[in-house]
Assembly symmetry: D3
Homo-oligomer: 243 residues x 6
């Protein structure tokens, strides 16, 4: 049984990670998971939000947004509606938490890094592509800040790597990295964020139709762990290249 785009159930879509896509940002990446394209920038500023001043610790936060015509049908701009929707909030918070999981704030010092993840084209998995790309932009921004001596040498602010993938159950079959059409049809949908050593940062599973069993949960978790391992390799390869 093959998938819409001919993949096997445990196969990722083609992943590309292009670094240095912005001349302004300290780190920037255009990442694609198949037809899903997310532009991730990492912006470094000295200083931290007021509630963290004097702590000696830095801060990392994220904002996610979709261009109005990144989807099949044009959506309203949140700036025009005057408020951010619940889904946007939720994903921005997820991206921020995921990246903070691999940061040593003491080593970062009182610097703030903001990750902007703007979806240029959406075809399922935008939040997982955003996390995976944002990690690479973050790594470049930290290297930049070390070069500028904003971050002291001797202690690495990145304590690990992080990537994310979606998994789901479609027609009873566990599938890795759902495209939009699969996502719509999934009975269960899960986003998993893993560190490079295979541990979990976030696990968010939702029964879209039928509640899922413990066995089904185990099946899709297995897929997710293998998918994150492949994404971890793609991140390493991208970062190994000269910018």
């Amino acid at each position: 049984m093959s998938r819409i785009d001919g993949r096997t159930p445990d196969q990722l879509r083609p992943v590309t990670i292009q670094r240095g896509w912005s001349k302004h940002a300290e780190g920037s990446v255009l990442i694609s998971f198949g037809d899903t394209k997310v532009f991730c920038t990492a912006s470094v500023t000295e200083g931290v939000p007021r509630w963290r001043k004097g702590s000696g610790e830095g801060w990392v936060t994220a904002e996610y947004s979709m261009l109005p015509r990144s989807t099949n049908t044009r959506g309203d701009r949140e700036s025009v509606r005057g408020k951010i929707g619940g889904r946007t909030h939720e994903i921005s918070r997820l991206i921020g938490r995921s990246l903070r999981a691999v940061i040593d704030f003491k080593a970062l010092g009182e610097n703030t890094i903001v990750l902007d993840c703007d979806v240029l084209q959406a075809d399922g998995g935008t939040r997982t592509a955003a996390i995976t790309g944002a990690y690479v932009a973050l790594a470049d921004a930290i290297t930049w800040a070390q070069g500028k001596k904003l971050i002291k040498h001797g202690r690495q602010p990145l304590t690990g790597t992080v990537s994310a993938v979606s998994v789901g159950i479609v027609d009873g079959v566990p599938l890795l990295d759902l495209c939009y059409e699969e996502d719509v049809r999934a009975e269960t949908d899960m986003n998993v964020v893993c560190t490079g050593d295979g541990r979990f940062v976030e696990v968010q599973g939702t029964a879209e139709a039928e509640p899922f069993t413990r066995d089904e949960l185990n099946g899709i978790l297995d897929l997710a762990v293998s998918g994150c391992a492949a994404l971890d390799a793609a991140q390493r390869e991208a970062l190994a290249a000269t910018l």
Copy 2:
């Protein structure tokens, strides 16, 4: 090793479910998980949102909010700030999804039920108490609507029961139903929504400090399943009483 409040790791706080707490709402419950108190009302209106009209199907949605002084330090009202925060949005969406998981929309007919979950006092686990209480309010509202012939007899809109509990790892020990002090100290924090037959509706786990392993995940999932079973019994007992 005992917990702050003397419980064993797999023990829920005392749970109380008081039905009929409002003279206006079609279903209403004051639920407490220890010192966490949430007031849940279910409001039935004929008709559905515009995008669902003519479908023959109903709709269930939820809004969660905390009173400004439900917490130890007074928080700003979201109505005064003029926008709803990300956390509120996220929890409202979670409650709505969780209850929709046990609804047969065809059987509900073109009726809408809004669940309002207002936290009167917070001590950890407000979203899980809200889901657990909202289920009972929803059940009462459906009974009311059946009595009023808004819902046709013959087919039951409720396809199952649903409850929720938080679990976490504190000092390396998996604990059930975290109170606020435990929640703050947890390395990993997870909210689990289960149906009465032990299947999963939502699984949301977050590493607050260290990423967690597959074994740790399995340990807290076990606790969550047992906790939901106990909550399911408490719901049944509450609903068995005469209103």
Copy 3:
């Protein structure tokens, strides 16, 4: 001629005042005027708003809100609409002014007390119940602050007591403490805030249908004064009990 609920024209509904309803707030009261139930908390914080800094004087303010299903038909949440309605603003301001009328700001010192009055169930007279209950919560909060030495001994910040009641003319008859059904039918509607010694803090009368005469005004003012005296007694009794 008897009223809907069998009361005489000059009779209050049953009044209950439960103190200590919140484990977090410095003062907290659940007050009921018949089926109207308002949860009042008083939150003490050191310091005052910017415009008052360095004055040596404290500040007291209030926020009023109705839970969406406190009424017979569910109302939209103001946080969801993104703005506070005129009625809410007006009542919040009224409560704040009423309580400031019995405060010696010098004696309070540079401390701020915020009174949150959240209507859990509405059946007419929510603002008057809120003022009456908020006074008791305020008194408890001041006692707490004296115990914590936030307020210096020797001078009492409370210069008097304050309570409030609605009065109106229904079918030509002056009535005390209108329930919702009476309120809807009233030709004239008035809210009166009195101190314990029978003086006026606020008098707000509105002709809903016919303009009212000076004689009618005098008649309902008489009722209001007697009602506030009874509420003053209820407040004293509540505060006399051990918390």
Copy 4:
């Protein structure tokens, strides 16, 4: 003992009412109470808000606003702040209620009249000047609508006249029509809206410093009634002139 501007306690400031100040509005008035100047327009539109459609009845509503430099110190524009303050809301509602008190909605038919009261210069009593001027603009707008046959002849939509004045107690002395300096110093401040036949539409009294006694209340009510009678005469005189 004479007042700041030399008036006796029971004397109004000079009142001017200029009709026809706008070429666009169906009714328009520039009213001044001393240095307080309010521009009032009445806009007629066919049809009523949705909730009133099909009732055969009309609607009258009001919006009050202050130009940013109508006061001694420039205030922020509410349009720039993005929300309307509580005071503005409260006064808009008061003006609307006051004018609806003299309208027969059946006779008005399904037409809406919006009264805009914009304060060009403020020196105390802006809301009372607004009500007094809006009445005249409303009367002109109704005459216009009768001329256009929007309102059927035979039944007069205006059932009476309405005007408003402020009264207060300053240094223990009851004063009529407070200017800004007196208003700031008043112990008690009251706004009274009367019909031309001397009955009350609104009575809103506030103790700014000391609570006030029943005798004091009676004293300022007497002043208010006499002030409104004088304003009623000024309105009649203005309306008697050819536009």
Copy 5:
């Protein structure tokens, strides 16, 4: 061929400039271009916005607004809608830039002048009347500030004069100072801001129907320059009078 109101193509409408229209503002003008009436106030405050502190330089900014019934059909208040429309923003920015063009910020010192331009009645050309009137209010405010020693003597903050006029092509004919009816029918519409010595501060031309040629552009620019010269004379005459 004559215009709607009988003017020749190169003729301004009657211009009146009344100074001292507010007792509160440091400079204030009621300007009319025919039936267009704009109330302009200049408010002086010591100090500058945060981003300019310590620079030794002042700031000048403007806010433009239309009263809801300044137009033929009542418009919604922007304060009620909760946001400022694009047109309002655009005109406020234009007025601010135009007046800053004739200010020496060093000579102004760290003072801020806010120009409020509120349209009381609109009949085309509201932005050009606003700029022309605001200049006079600004000049008076600067004189006031010099009298109060807020601005040091020796160096004049005003480096020139500024006025503005609209021009357009209607039925192929270039016309000066369009009234509303002409504006609606114009193929091309241009607003020109000139200094008193005939140089340009702003040129904003828009093809409403057909794109315009270089020759047409030259024709309307000629008209605009002559119109601004006449407005410059009117400003000088107004300022020459004793306030």
Copy 6:
């Protein structure tokens, strides 16, 4: 005298126009003017806004936005601030007007085309690049709609072509197509929108420092006309290629 980037005063930066950059939008273009990169999509929907229904005419509108890190320093998202800034509004309106200038609304029929212009990287001239790119996306969207028979054959909705360029005076020298560094230093800054036959759609010139003379205006207009001619050629070349 050469420019920062070595161009002659009358030379455009390298222009690239990539069509088909989105798989979802009916027309899409990534346009670059040197380092300025704007992503333009054209979204076609059947039907028109309410105020245009039944007219038989279509509508074209535009929204402009900058990604937060498109600039050298990260800016706040307008969706997060909850309101759109004046500059964004102004540019969105300019783009919409510019493209409507070459549309025959009758030929478009009751269809709406929304142009989204999102700046991915900014280096001066973002609005002129947006207009130039949006024209190409619009042309592709119209071709698409003709293919889908949404637009009837026989009459071409596009009545011409349109492009835009910035010009300015820097150190007294008129320059074409300013990059950011030049823009900041410009004494005069002008954006010019031309049709392919050399006529003007918009002319917006602003004196940033010194007012400009008629001769200077003529000099930069000459440059703008030649620049738009070159952009017109680039658009034609891009559209001539097979998509």
